[in-house]
Subunit: 401 residues, 4 copies
């Protein structure tokens, strides 16, 4: 338990650190229904521990505040009512200080529970998986805090920066292809002592793959500029039907957050654009992986490049030897998000965590530089609707052999 | 100028006082596109003085911040670009402290300008009308601060109060009718030294009125409960066609902010409801004027009561002897908001203040208890679209004689 | 009664004649929710006689078809349910032949009733106003048949013509102004034996007018081209706020049905455009009155021209000596559509005819060349929402003196 | 070629026969953007032959009508512009007779081309696959004609019937499960001389299946009534998240076209409902397969029943021995519609046929009683968005072993 207590403290402190540079005003608004206020992230992750750890295991459990049960429930029907999602940014009370107080109060109660579990093996055994889940959950929200904050700040004409200074320089990674023979392979999480995976990462199962090769690095800013220069956003044959409609309806001409420079050169040159980032507006580094793409764009680019997106099975099979697999950008795959053969959601209320979203979303693999340390693994399945752009999502290519 | 400087200081201080009990979080969100954040109200009223007073008259004028010119422009096309109205709540920077600094900086520059005008009669003559307009403008936003704040807090399930303690007790006013003979009467603002009116209040002009009588008080909560009890919201014949569609589409069954009591009696009894107010959730006082009505509701009630709404000419003609004319609730009239005969908008950019909105809105007369002292007058024309409910708007009846 | 029977026959036959050139396919679709299928117009006008004349006065009345009571009810809540308006074009059965049979069957029953009334003075007295109303109602729908048909055909890329041959040549009318002294004048319908007016045209009442002058003809195509050439659609200061939003949201750059000629000259030249008409695509005649304008456009043009729209009282007062008052284009006024002082809707179900629409619409005066003979009069009040363009609506100017 | 000419004649005649009982009015409207008018189906299938067979192979090819190229293009960007899909029902000209003339004219030109191919082996070889594709395409539209017509007639309060007489009696099929061992199996179309499949049915490829069992018949009306009686539409735990939102937003309580009987028994009893069908309103036969379900409903039912939907690989592997595989109802699967490994769209313009739709749709397998004879096969992949209900779609269950 001591290790778990330490991990708990570290993960919770990292969340606080992410929010530390922000004002109460920064933490309040919801920039679109799909995003959430930072304050809400701070509260909801705490609600998760209160609801799924304290309530079933704390003697004499009482709600920290009766209204929080509803206010900070994201989507668990079995827990009861939920505050309407698009109105999260309108809840000004509790204020940020009260939400921080809520965090500390739950932290103290968790600490007390963990102390009790030192002498209670059954309790310790029951707490471990729930606390681990709660921490993995909080790590997901750590990335969302940055994702949602970037979206919010991007709508401010003052182009404010969350972090001072220039972006770190991107390292150039050699292009190329990594070949795989395919055949009957296994993918999915293999349970092991001390290991963790979400329910949607298993069961481990066999998949038959044809021979394929996969890109040795992510697609870069410079490559994306070539796609633009070649009229990629104007040519329907590269696009899925829904993607072409989306391009037309939204008037998309570049990745989200790319901004045309007033005195830039021709439309396709990289220097014609800069990008809004967590460091404010910054030049586009040619070798950096392109990000903030929809699946529509990633898929169109792959077709333009004479390639395709990898399936998630190909990606996972190749992951061990894949440069830039983790820590740069989530990578759109060709795979719809569905249940693995034999999939069963977790028992109980947390069974709503993943399974009920397995429709009309597409899997992303890898992780981004906004993903917290220790949260990435080869079997991890991220997923978003095809038109999603505000995530740190890019692509790598694949081809049949 | 001394008097004007004192008035300036007083009005500006009153705005600050209204916002004083609020946190930075409270001042940030925009609860709907028609409403604005408190922080935006604080900044926009300052922008008004900077743009329309300082810029033309201050030697060596410089913008306090270049981005504010766009950010806090409400709707003046002639001033240039405007930040998109539905995104006002997403501007977290400048923060509340910076906006307060903006207020103080402009206040100091206005003070310096006024000091200079002490010895410059031409300047003083030029400043007086613009400053007066700016203060009247700020007073309008003082009421909107409360109106918009009430709407925001009403969406919080914790039902927070802006003000502590119970509502003041409403005084019972005798019902009855006040008769007028009509004929050719004059309405509209008559310019006088030291007087002020918005351009839409003039010119003073002749209107022919038939004999009529007008209600001696506003319609009360108790009377509204009788309308509900009689099925008023279920019977199409009381409603304008657009109103009946609106009732159906919105599922309206009571004034905005009325909330059904869990264990209340029958649907029409006043005690079946309470109301969300600036004092939090409160009982409905039978004698208090009903408020937060749309024009649709006011008009339907009048028809149900065998009466009609007064025209704005009737209201203004009768105003001198009208109980509850001011300080309780804005009163919907039967008059569309149009130009008076001979109307000319103010010259220059401030000409956009009123004239361009003269379509498909309805005039309200009087004032509410949220209207700041000194801002009400018989010729004042407030106006809103027919479906507006978040204003402090009620009604009084009228009838032909 | 003989005269009335003859009028009935003539009006009903005119409706048939309007539909005669159309196929069953032409009579079926509803091009937008605001328009109706020709077949629906044929049926609804018949429903009006069945519901308001036959039902109360025919011995042993039986519905022609039980479902028609609902199917062809436009908006009379007191008659009962209504088929959803946007689904009128989906009713393929009854077919056109059945609807024509419905017309004939009701015509025969009306004829029989009129024959009975020859010897029954009380019946004759009761029938006359209802039949007259039904015929006026049918005449309104005669114009709507052409209006709605033009809109439908305009959406067909084959640009089909309803009528063969070129448009009749427009006569040039001299420009100029007609001055009026104003004062206390009377407007509104004055009841007279044998006369008819809708309830909204009365009561006759006194209005005080300032001196004004009114345009001696309608604004022409050539004048409108000058407005375009001067950037009228790009300059916000000419527009009402709602109008400017509308121009931007709809991308409006010319009157409805104006089409840019492939090889046309500069954007403002009249020959850069042609127009889709009931005669198919046709050149724009410089002297012809411009039509298919929204109120927003009419109002913006007037401001650009240094003038304004006339009020409906000015128009009616001036009508007797007004060139092009009738038969060319409905003329937008500056007057919102409201009740005249002392207005009372008709008693009974037909009271829903006009009164419940008196909100957020604007009055048009005069008549168009699609208005049937005998349906125009100086007190007539047409009305539509400000964004309406598919009506035969133009404008004339007015100015204060 | 003689056989092909005969098949061409037979398929084209079947389309005509389907439309034969319909009036021109019936063939005109578009009941929703996803559906098309019967007249449009008649024309578009002809356009397909004109564009993809005649144009590349007919000497001296000329368009039947220049405007039809655009008017009847469904979604082929490479062919050029398309008439806006939601406006298909507004094209009243060409009329039905002209569209029939278009059909006959193209039929004659195809016949002449086929006659020429009798002596031209290269031409014959080139024509065969295109004509076959055109006929398969027309067969798809034959089912859509009935599907879209049923939707249109269902919106008519007169509940008109397309076919006279009662529905044929449904045969009771025994319930039960058919077990399969799984393992590495092959699915997908295996090309063979004279065979046809759409590009999306191949290539044939290996898939690893776990042991499973599949329902021995389709889910019936009686079973669906039990789901309703058990509160299936009110219990979120059976539903995908998007499905639960859909149920709430649409107020869904039963399959599309089920209508509550006025004097019916309790909400879940089968006799509480009847159904609107191509035979008009009809009783629900207990043993008949339930149809007109969304994927959301099919998936929720399967979860309620302690089962799941089969994957398309399972379905196809089991198809040879599957009762009610074809001819009753399309069967929703658990499989998103994606490219098979190694999939390549057809070369040329017809490459837009299938591939660009491979996102966010779900595969249905089998066929319905509206599918024309000869159009069903085990590898056939139908696909629709999850909320689609107007197709003849039901379900069968599956379970892991």
């Amino acid at each position: 338990m001591t290790t778990l207590a330490a991990r708990y403290a570290a993960v919770r402190a990292h969340t606080e650190a992410l929010a530390a540079p922000l004002s109460e005003a920064d933490c309040q608004p919801q920039s679109m229904p799909e995003a959430s206020p930072v304050k809400w992230h701070l509260a909801h992750t705490t609600w998760f521990f209160e609801t799924f750890v304290l309530e079933p295991h704390e003697a004499g459990f009482r709600l920290h505040h009766p209204a929080y049960r509803v206010l900070f429930n994201s989507y668990y029907n079995a827990v009861g009512d939920k505050h309407p999602r698009p109105q999260r940014g309108l809840v000004t009370r509790p204020g940020l200080a009260e939400v921080r107080h809520y965090r500390r109060a739950v932290d103290e109660r968790i600490a007390a529970l963990l102390a009790r579990a030192e002498g209670d093996a059954a309790l310790a055994a029951a707490l471990a998986p729930l606390l681990t889940l709660g921490l993995q959950h909080e790590q997901q929200h750590q990335e969302l805090i940055l994702t949602d904050l970037l979206h919010l700040l991007s709508l401010n004409p003052l182009e404010p920066a969350y972090r001072e200074g220039p972006l770190p320089a991107a390292e150039a990674v050699p292009a190329g292809w990594i070949a795989h023979a395919g055949g009957l392979v296994e993918i999915g999480h293999e349970p092991a002592p001390g290991g963790f995976a979400f329910d949607n990462e298993g069961p481990r199962h066999r998949v038959f793959l044809r021979p394929f090769e996969i890109g040795a690095r992510l697609v870069t800013h410079a490559e994306w500029a070539a796609f633009i220069a070649d009229g990629g956003y104007q040519e329907p044959r590269w696009w899925l039907s829904a993607g072409w409609d989306w391009v037309g309806a939204q008037g998309v001409q570049a990745p989200l957050y790319w901004r045309r420079e007033a005195a830039g050169p021709g439309p396709g040159a990289l220097s014609a654009f800069s990008a809004f980032t967590l460091h404010g507006r910054q030049p586009l580094q040619p070798d950096a992986p392109v990000r903030h793409l929809s699946l529509y764009e990633a898929d169109a680019y792959a077709r333009w490049a004479g390639a395709r997106l990898p399936t998630e099975a190909e990606w996972e099979h190749a992951a061990a030897a894949l440069p830039q697999a983790f820590g740069h950008a989530w990578q759109w795959t060709a795979s719809p998000y569905t249940a693995y053969p034999g999939y069963r959601p977790w028992a109980g209320t947390v069974g709503e965590y993943n399974g009920k979203f397995m429709l009309d979303q597409t899997v992303l693999r890898g992780s981004s530089d906004a993903t917290p340390a220790g949260h990435a693994r080869p079997s991890y399945r991220n997923f978003f609707p095809a038109g999603t752009r505000w995530q740190f999502a890019g692509l790598r290519l694949a081809r049949d052999l």
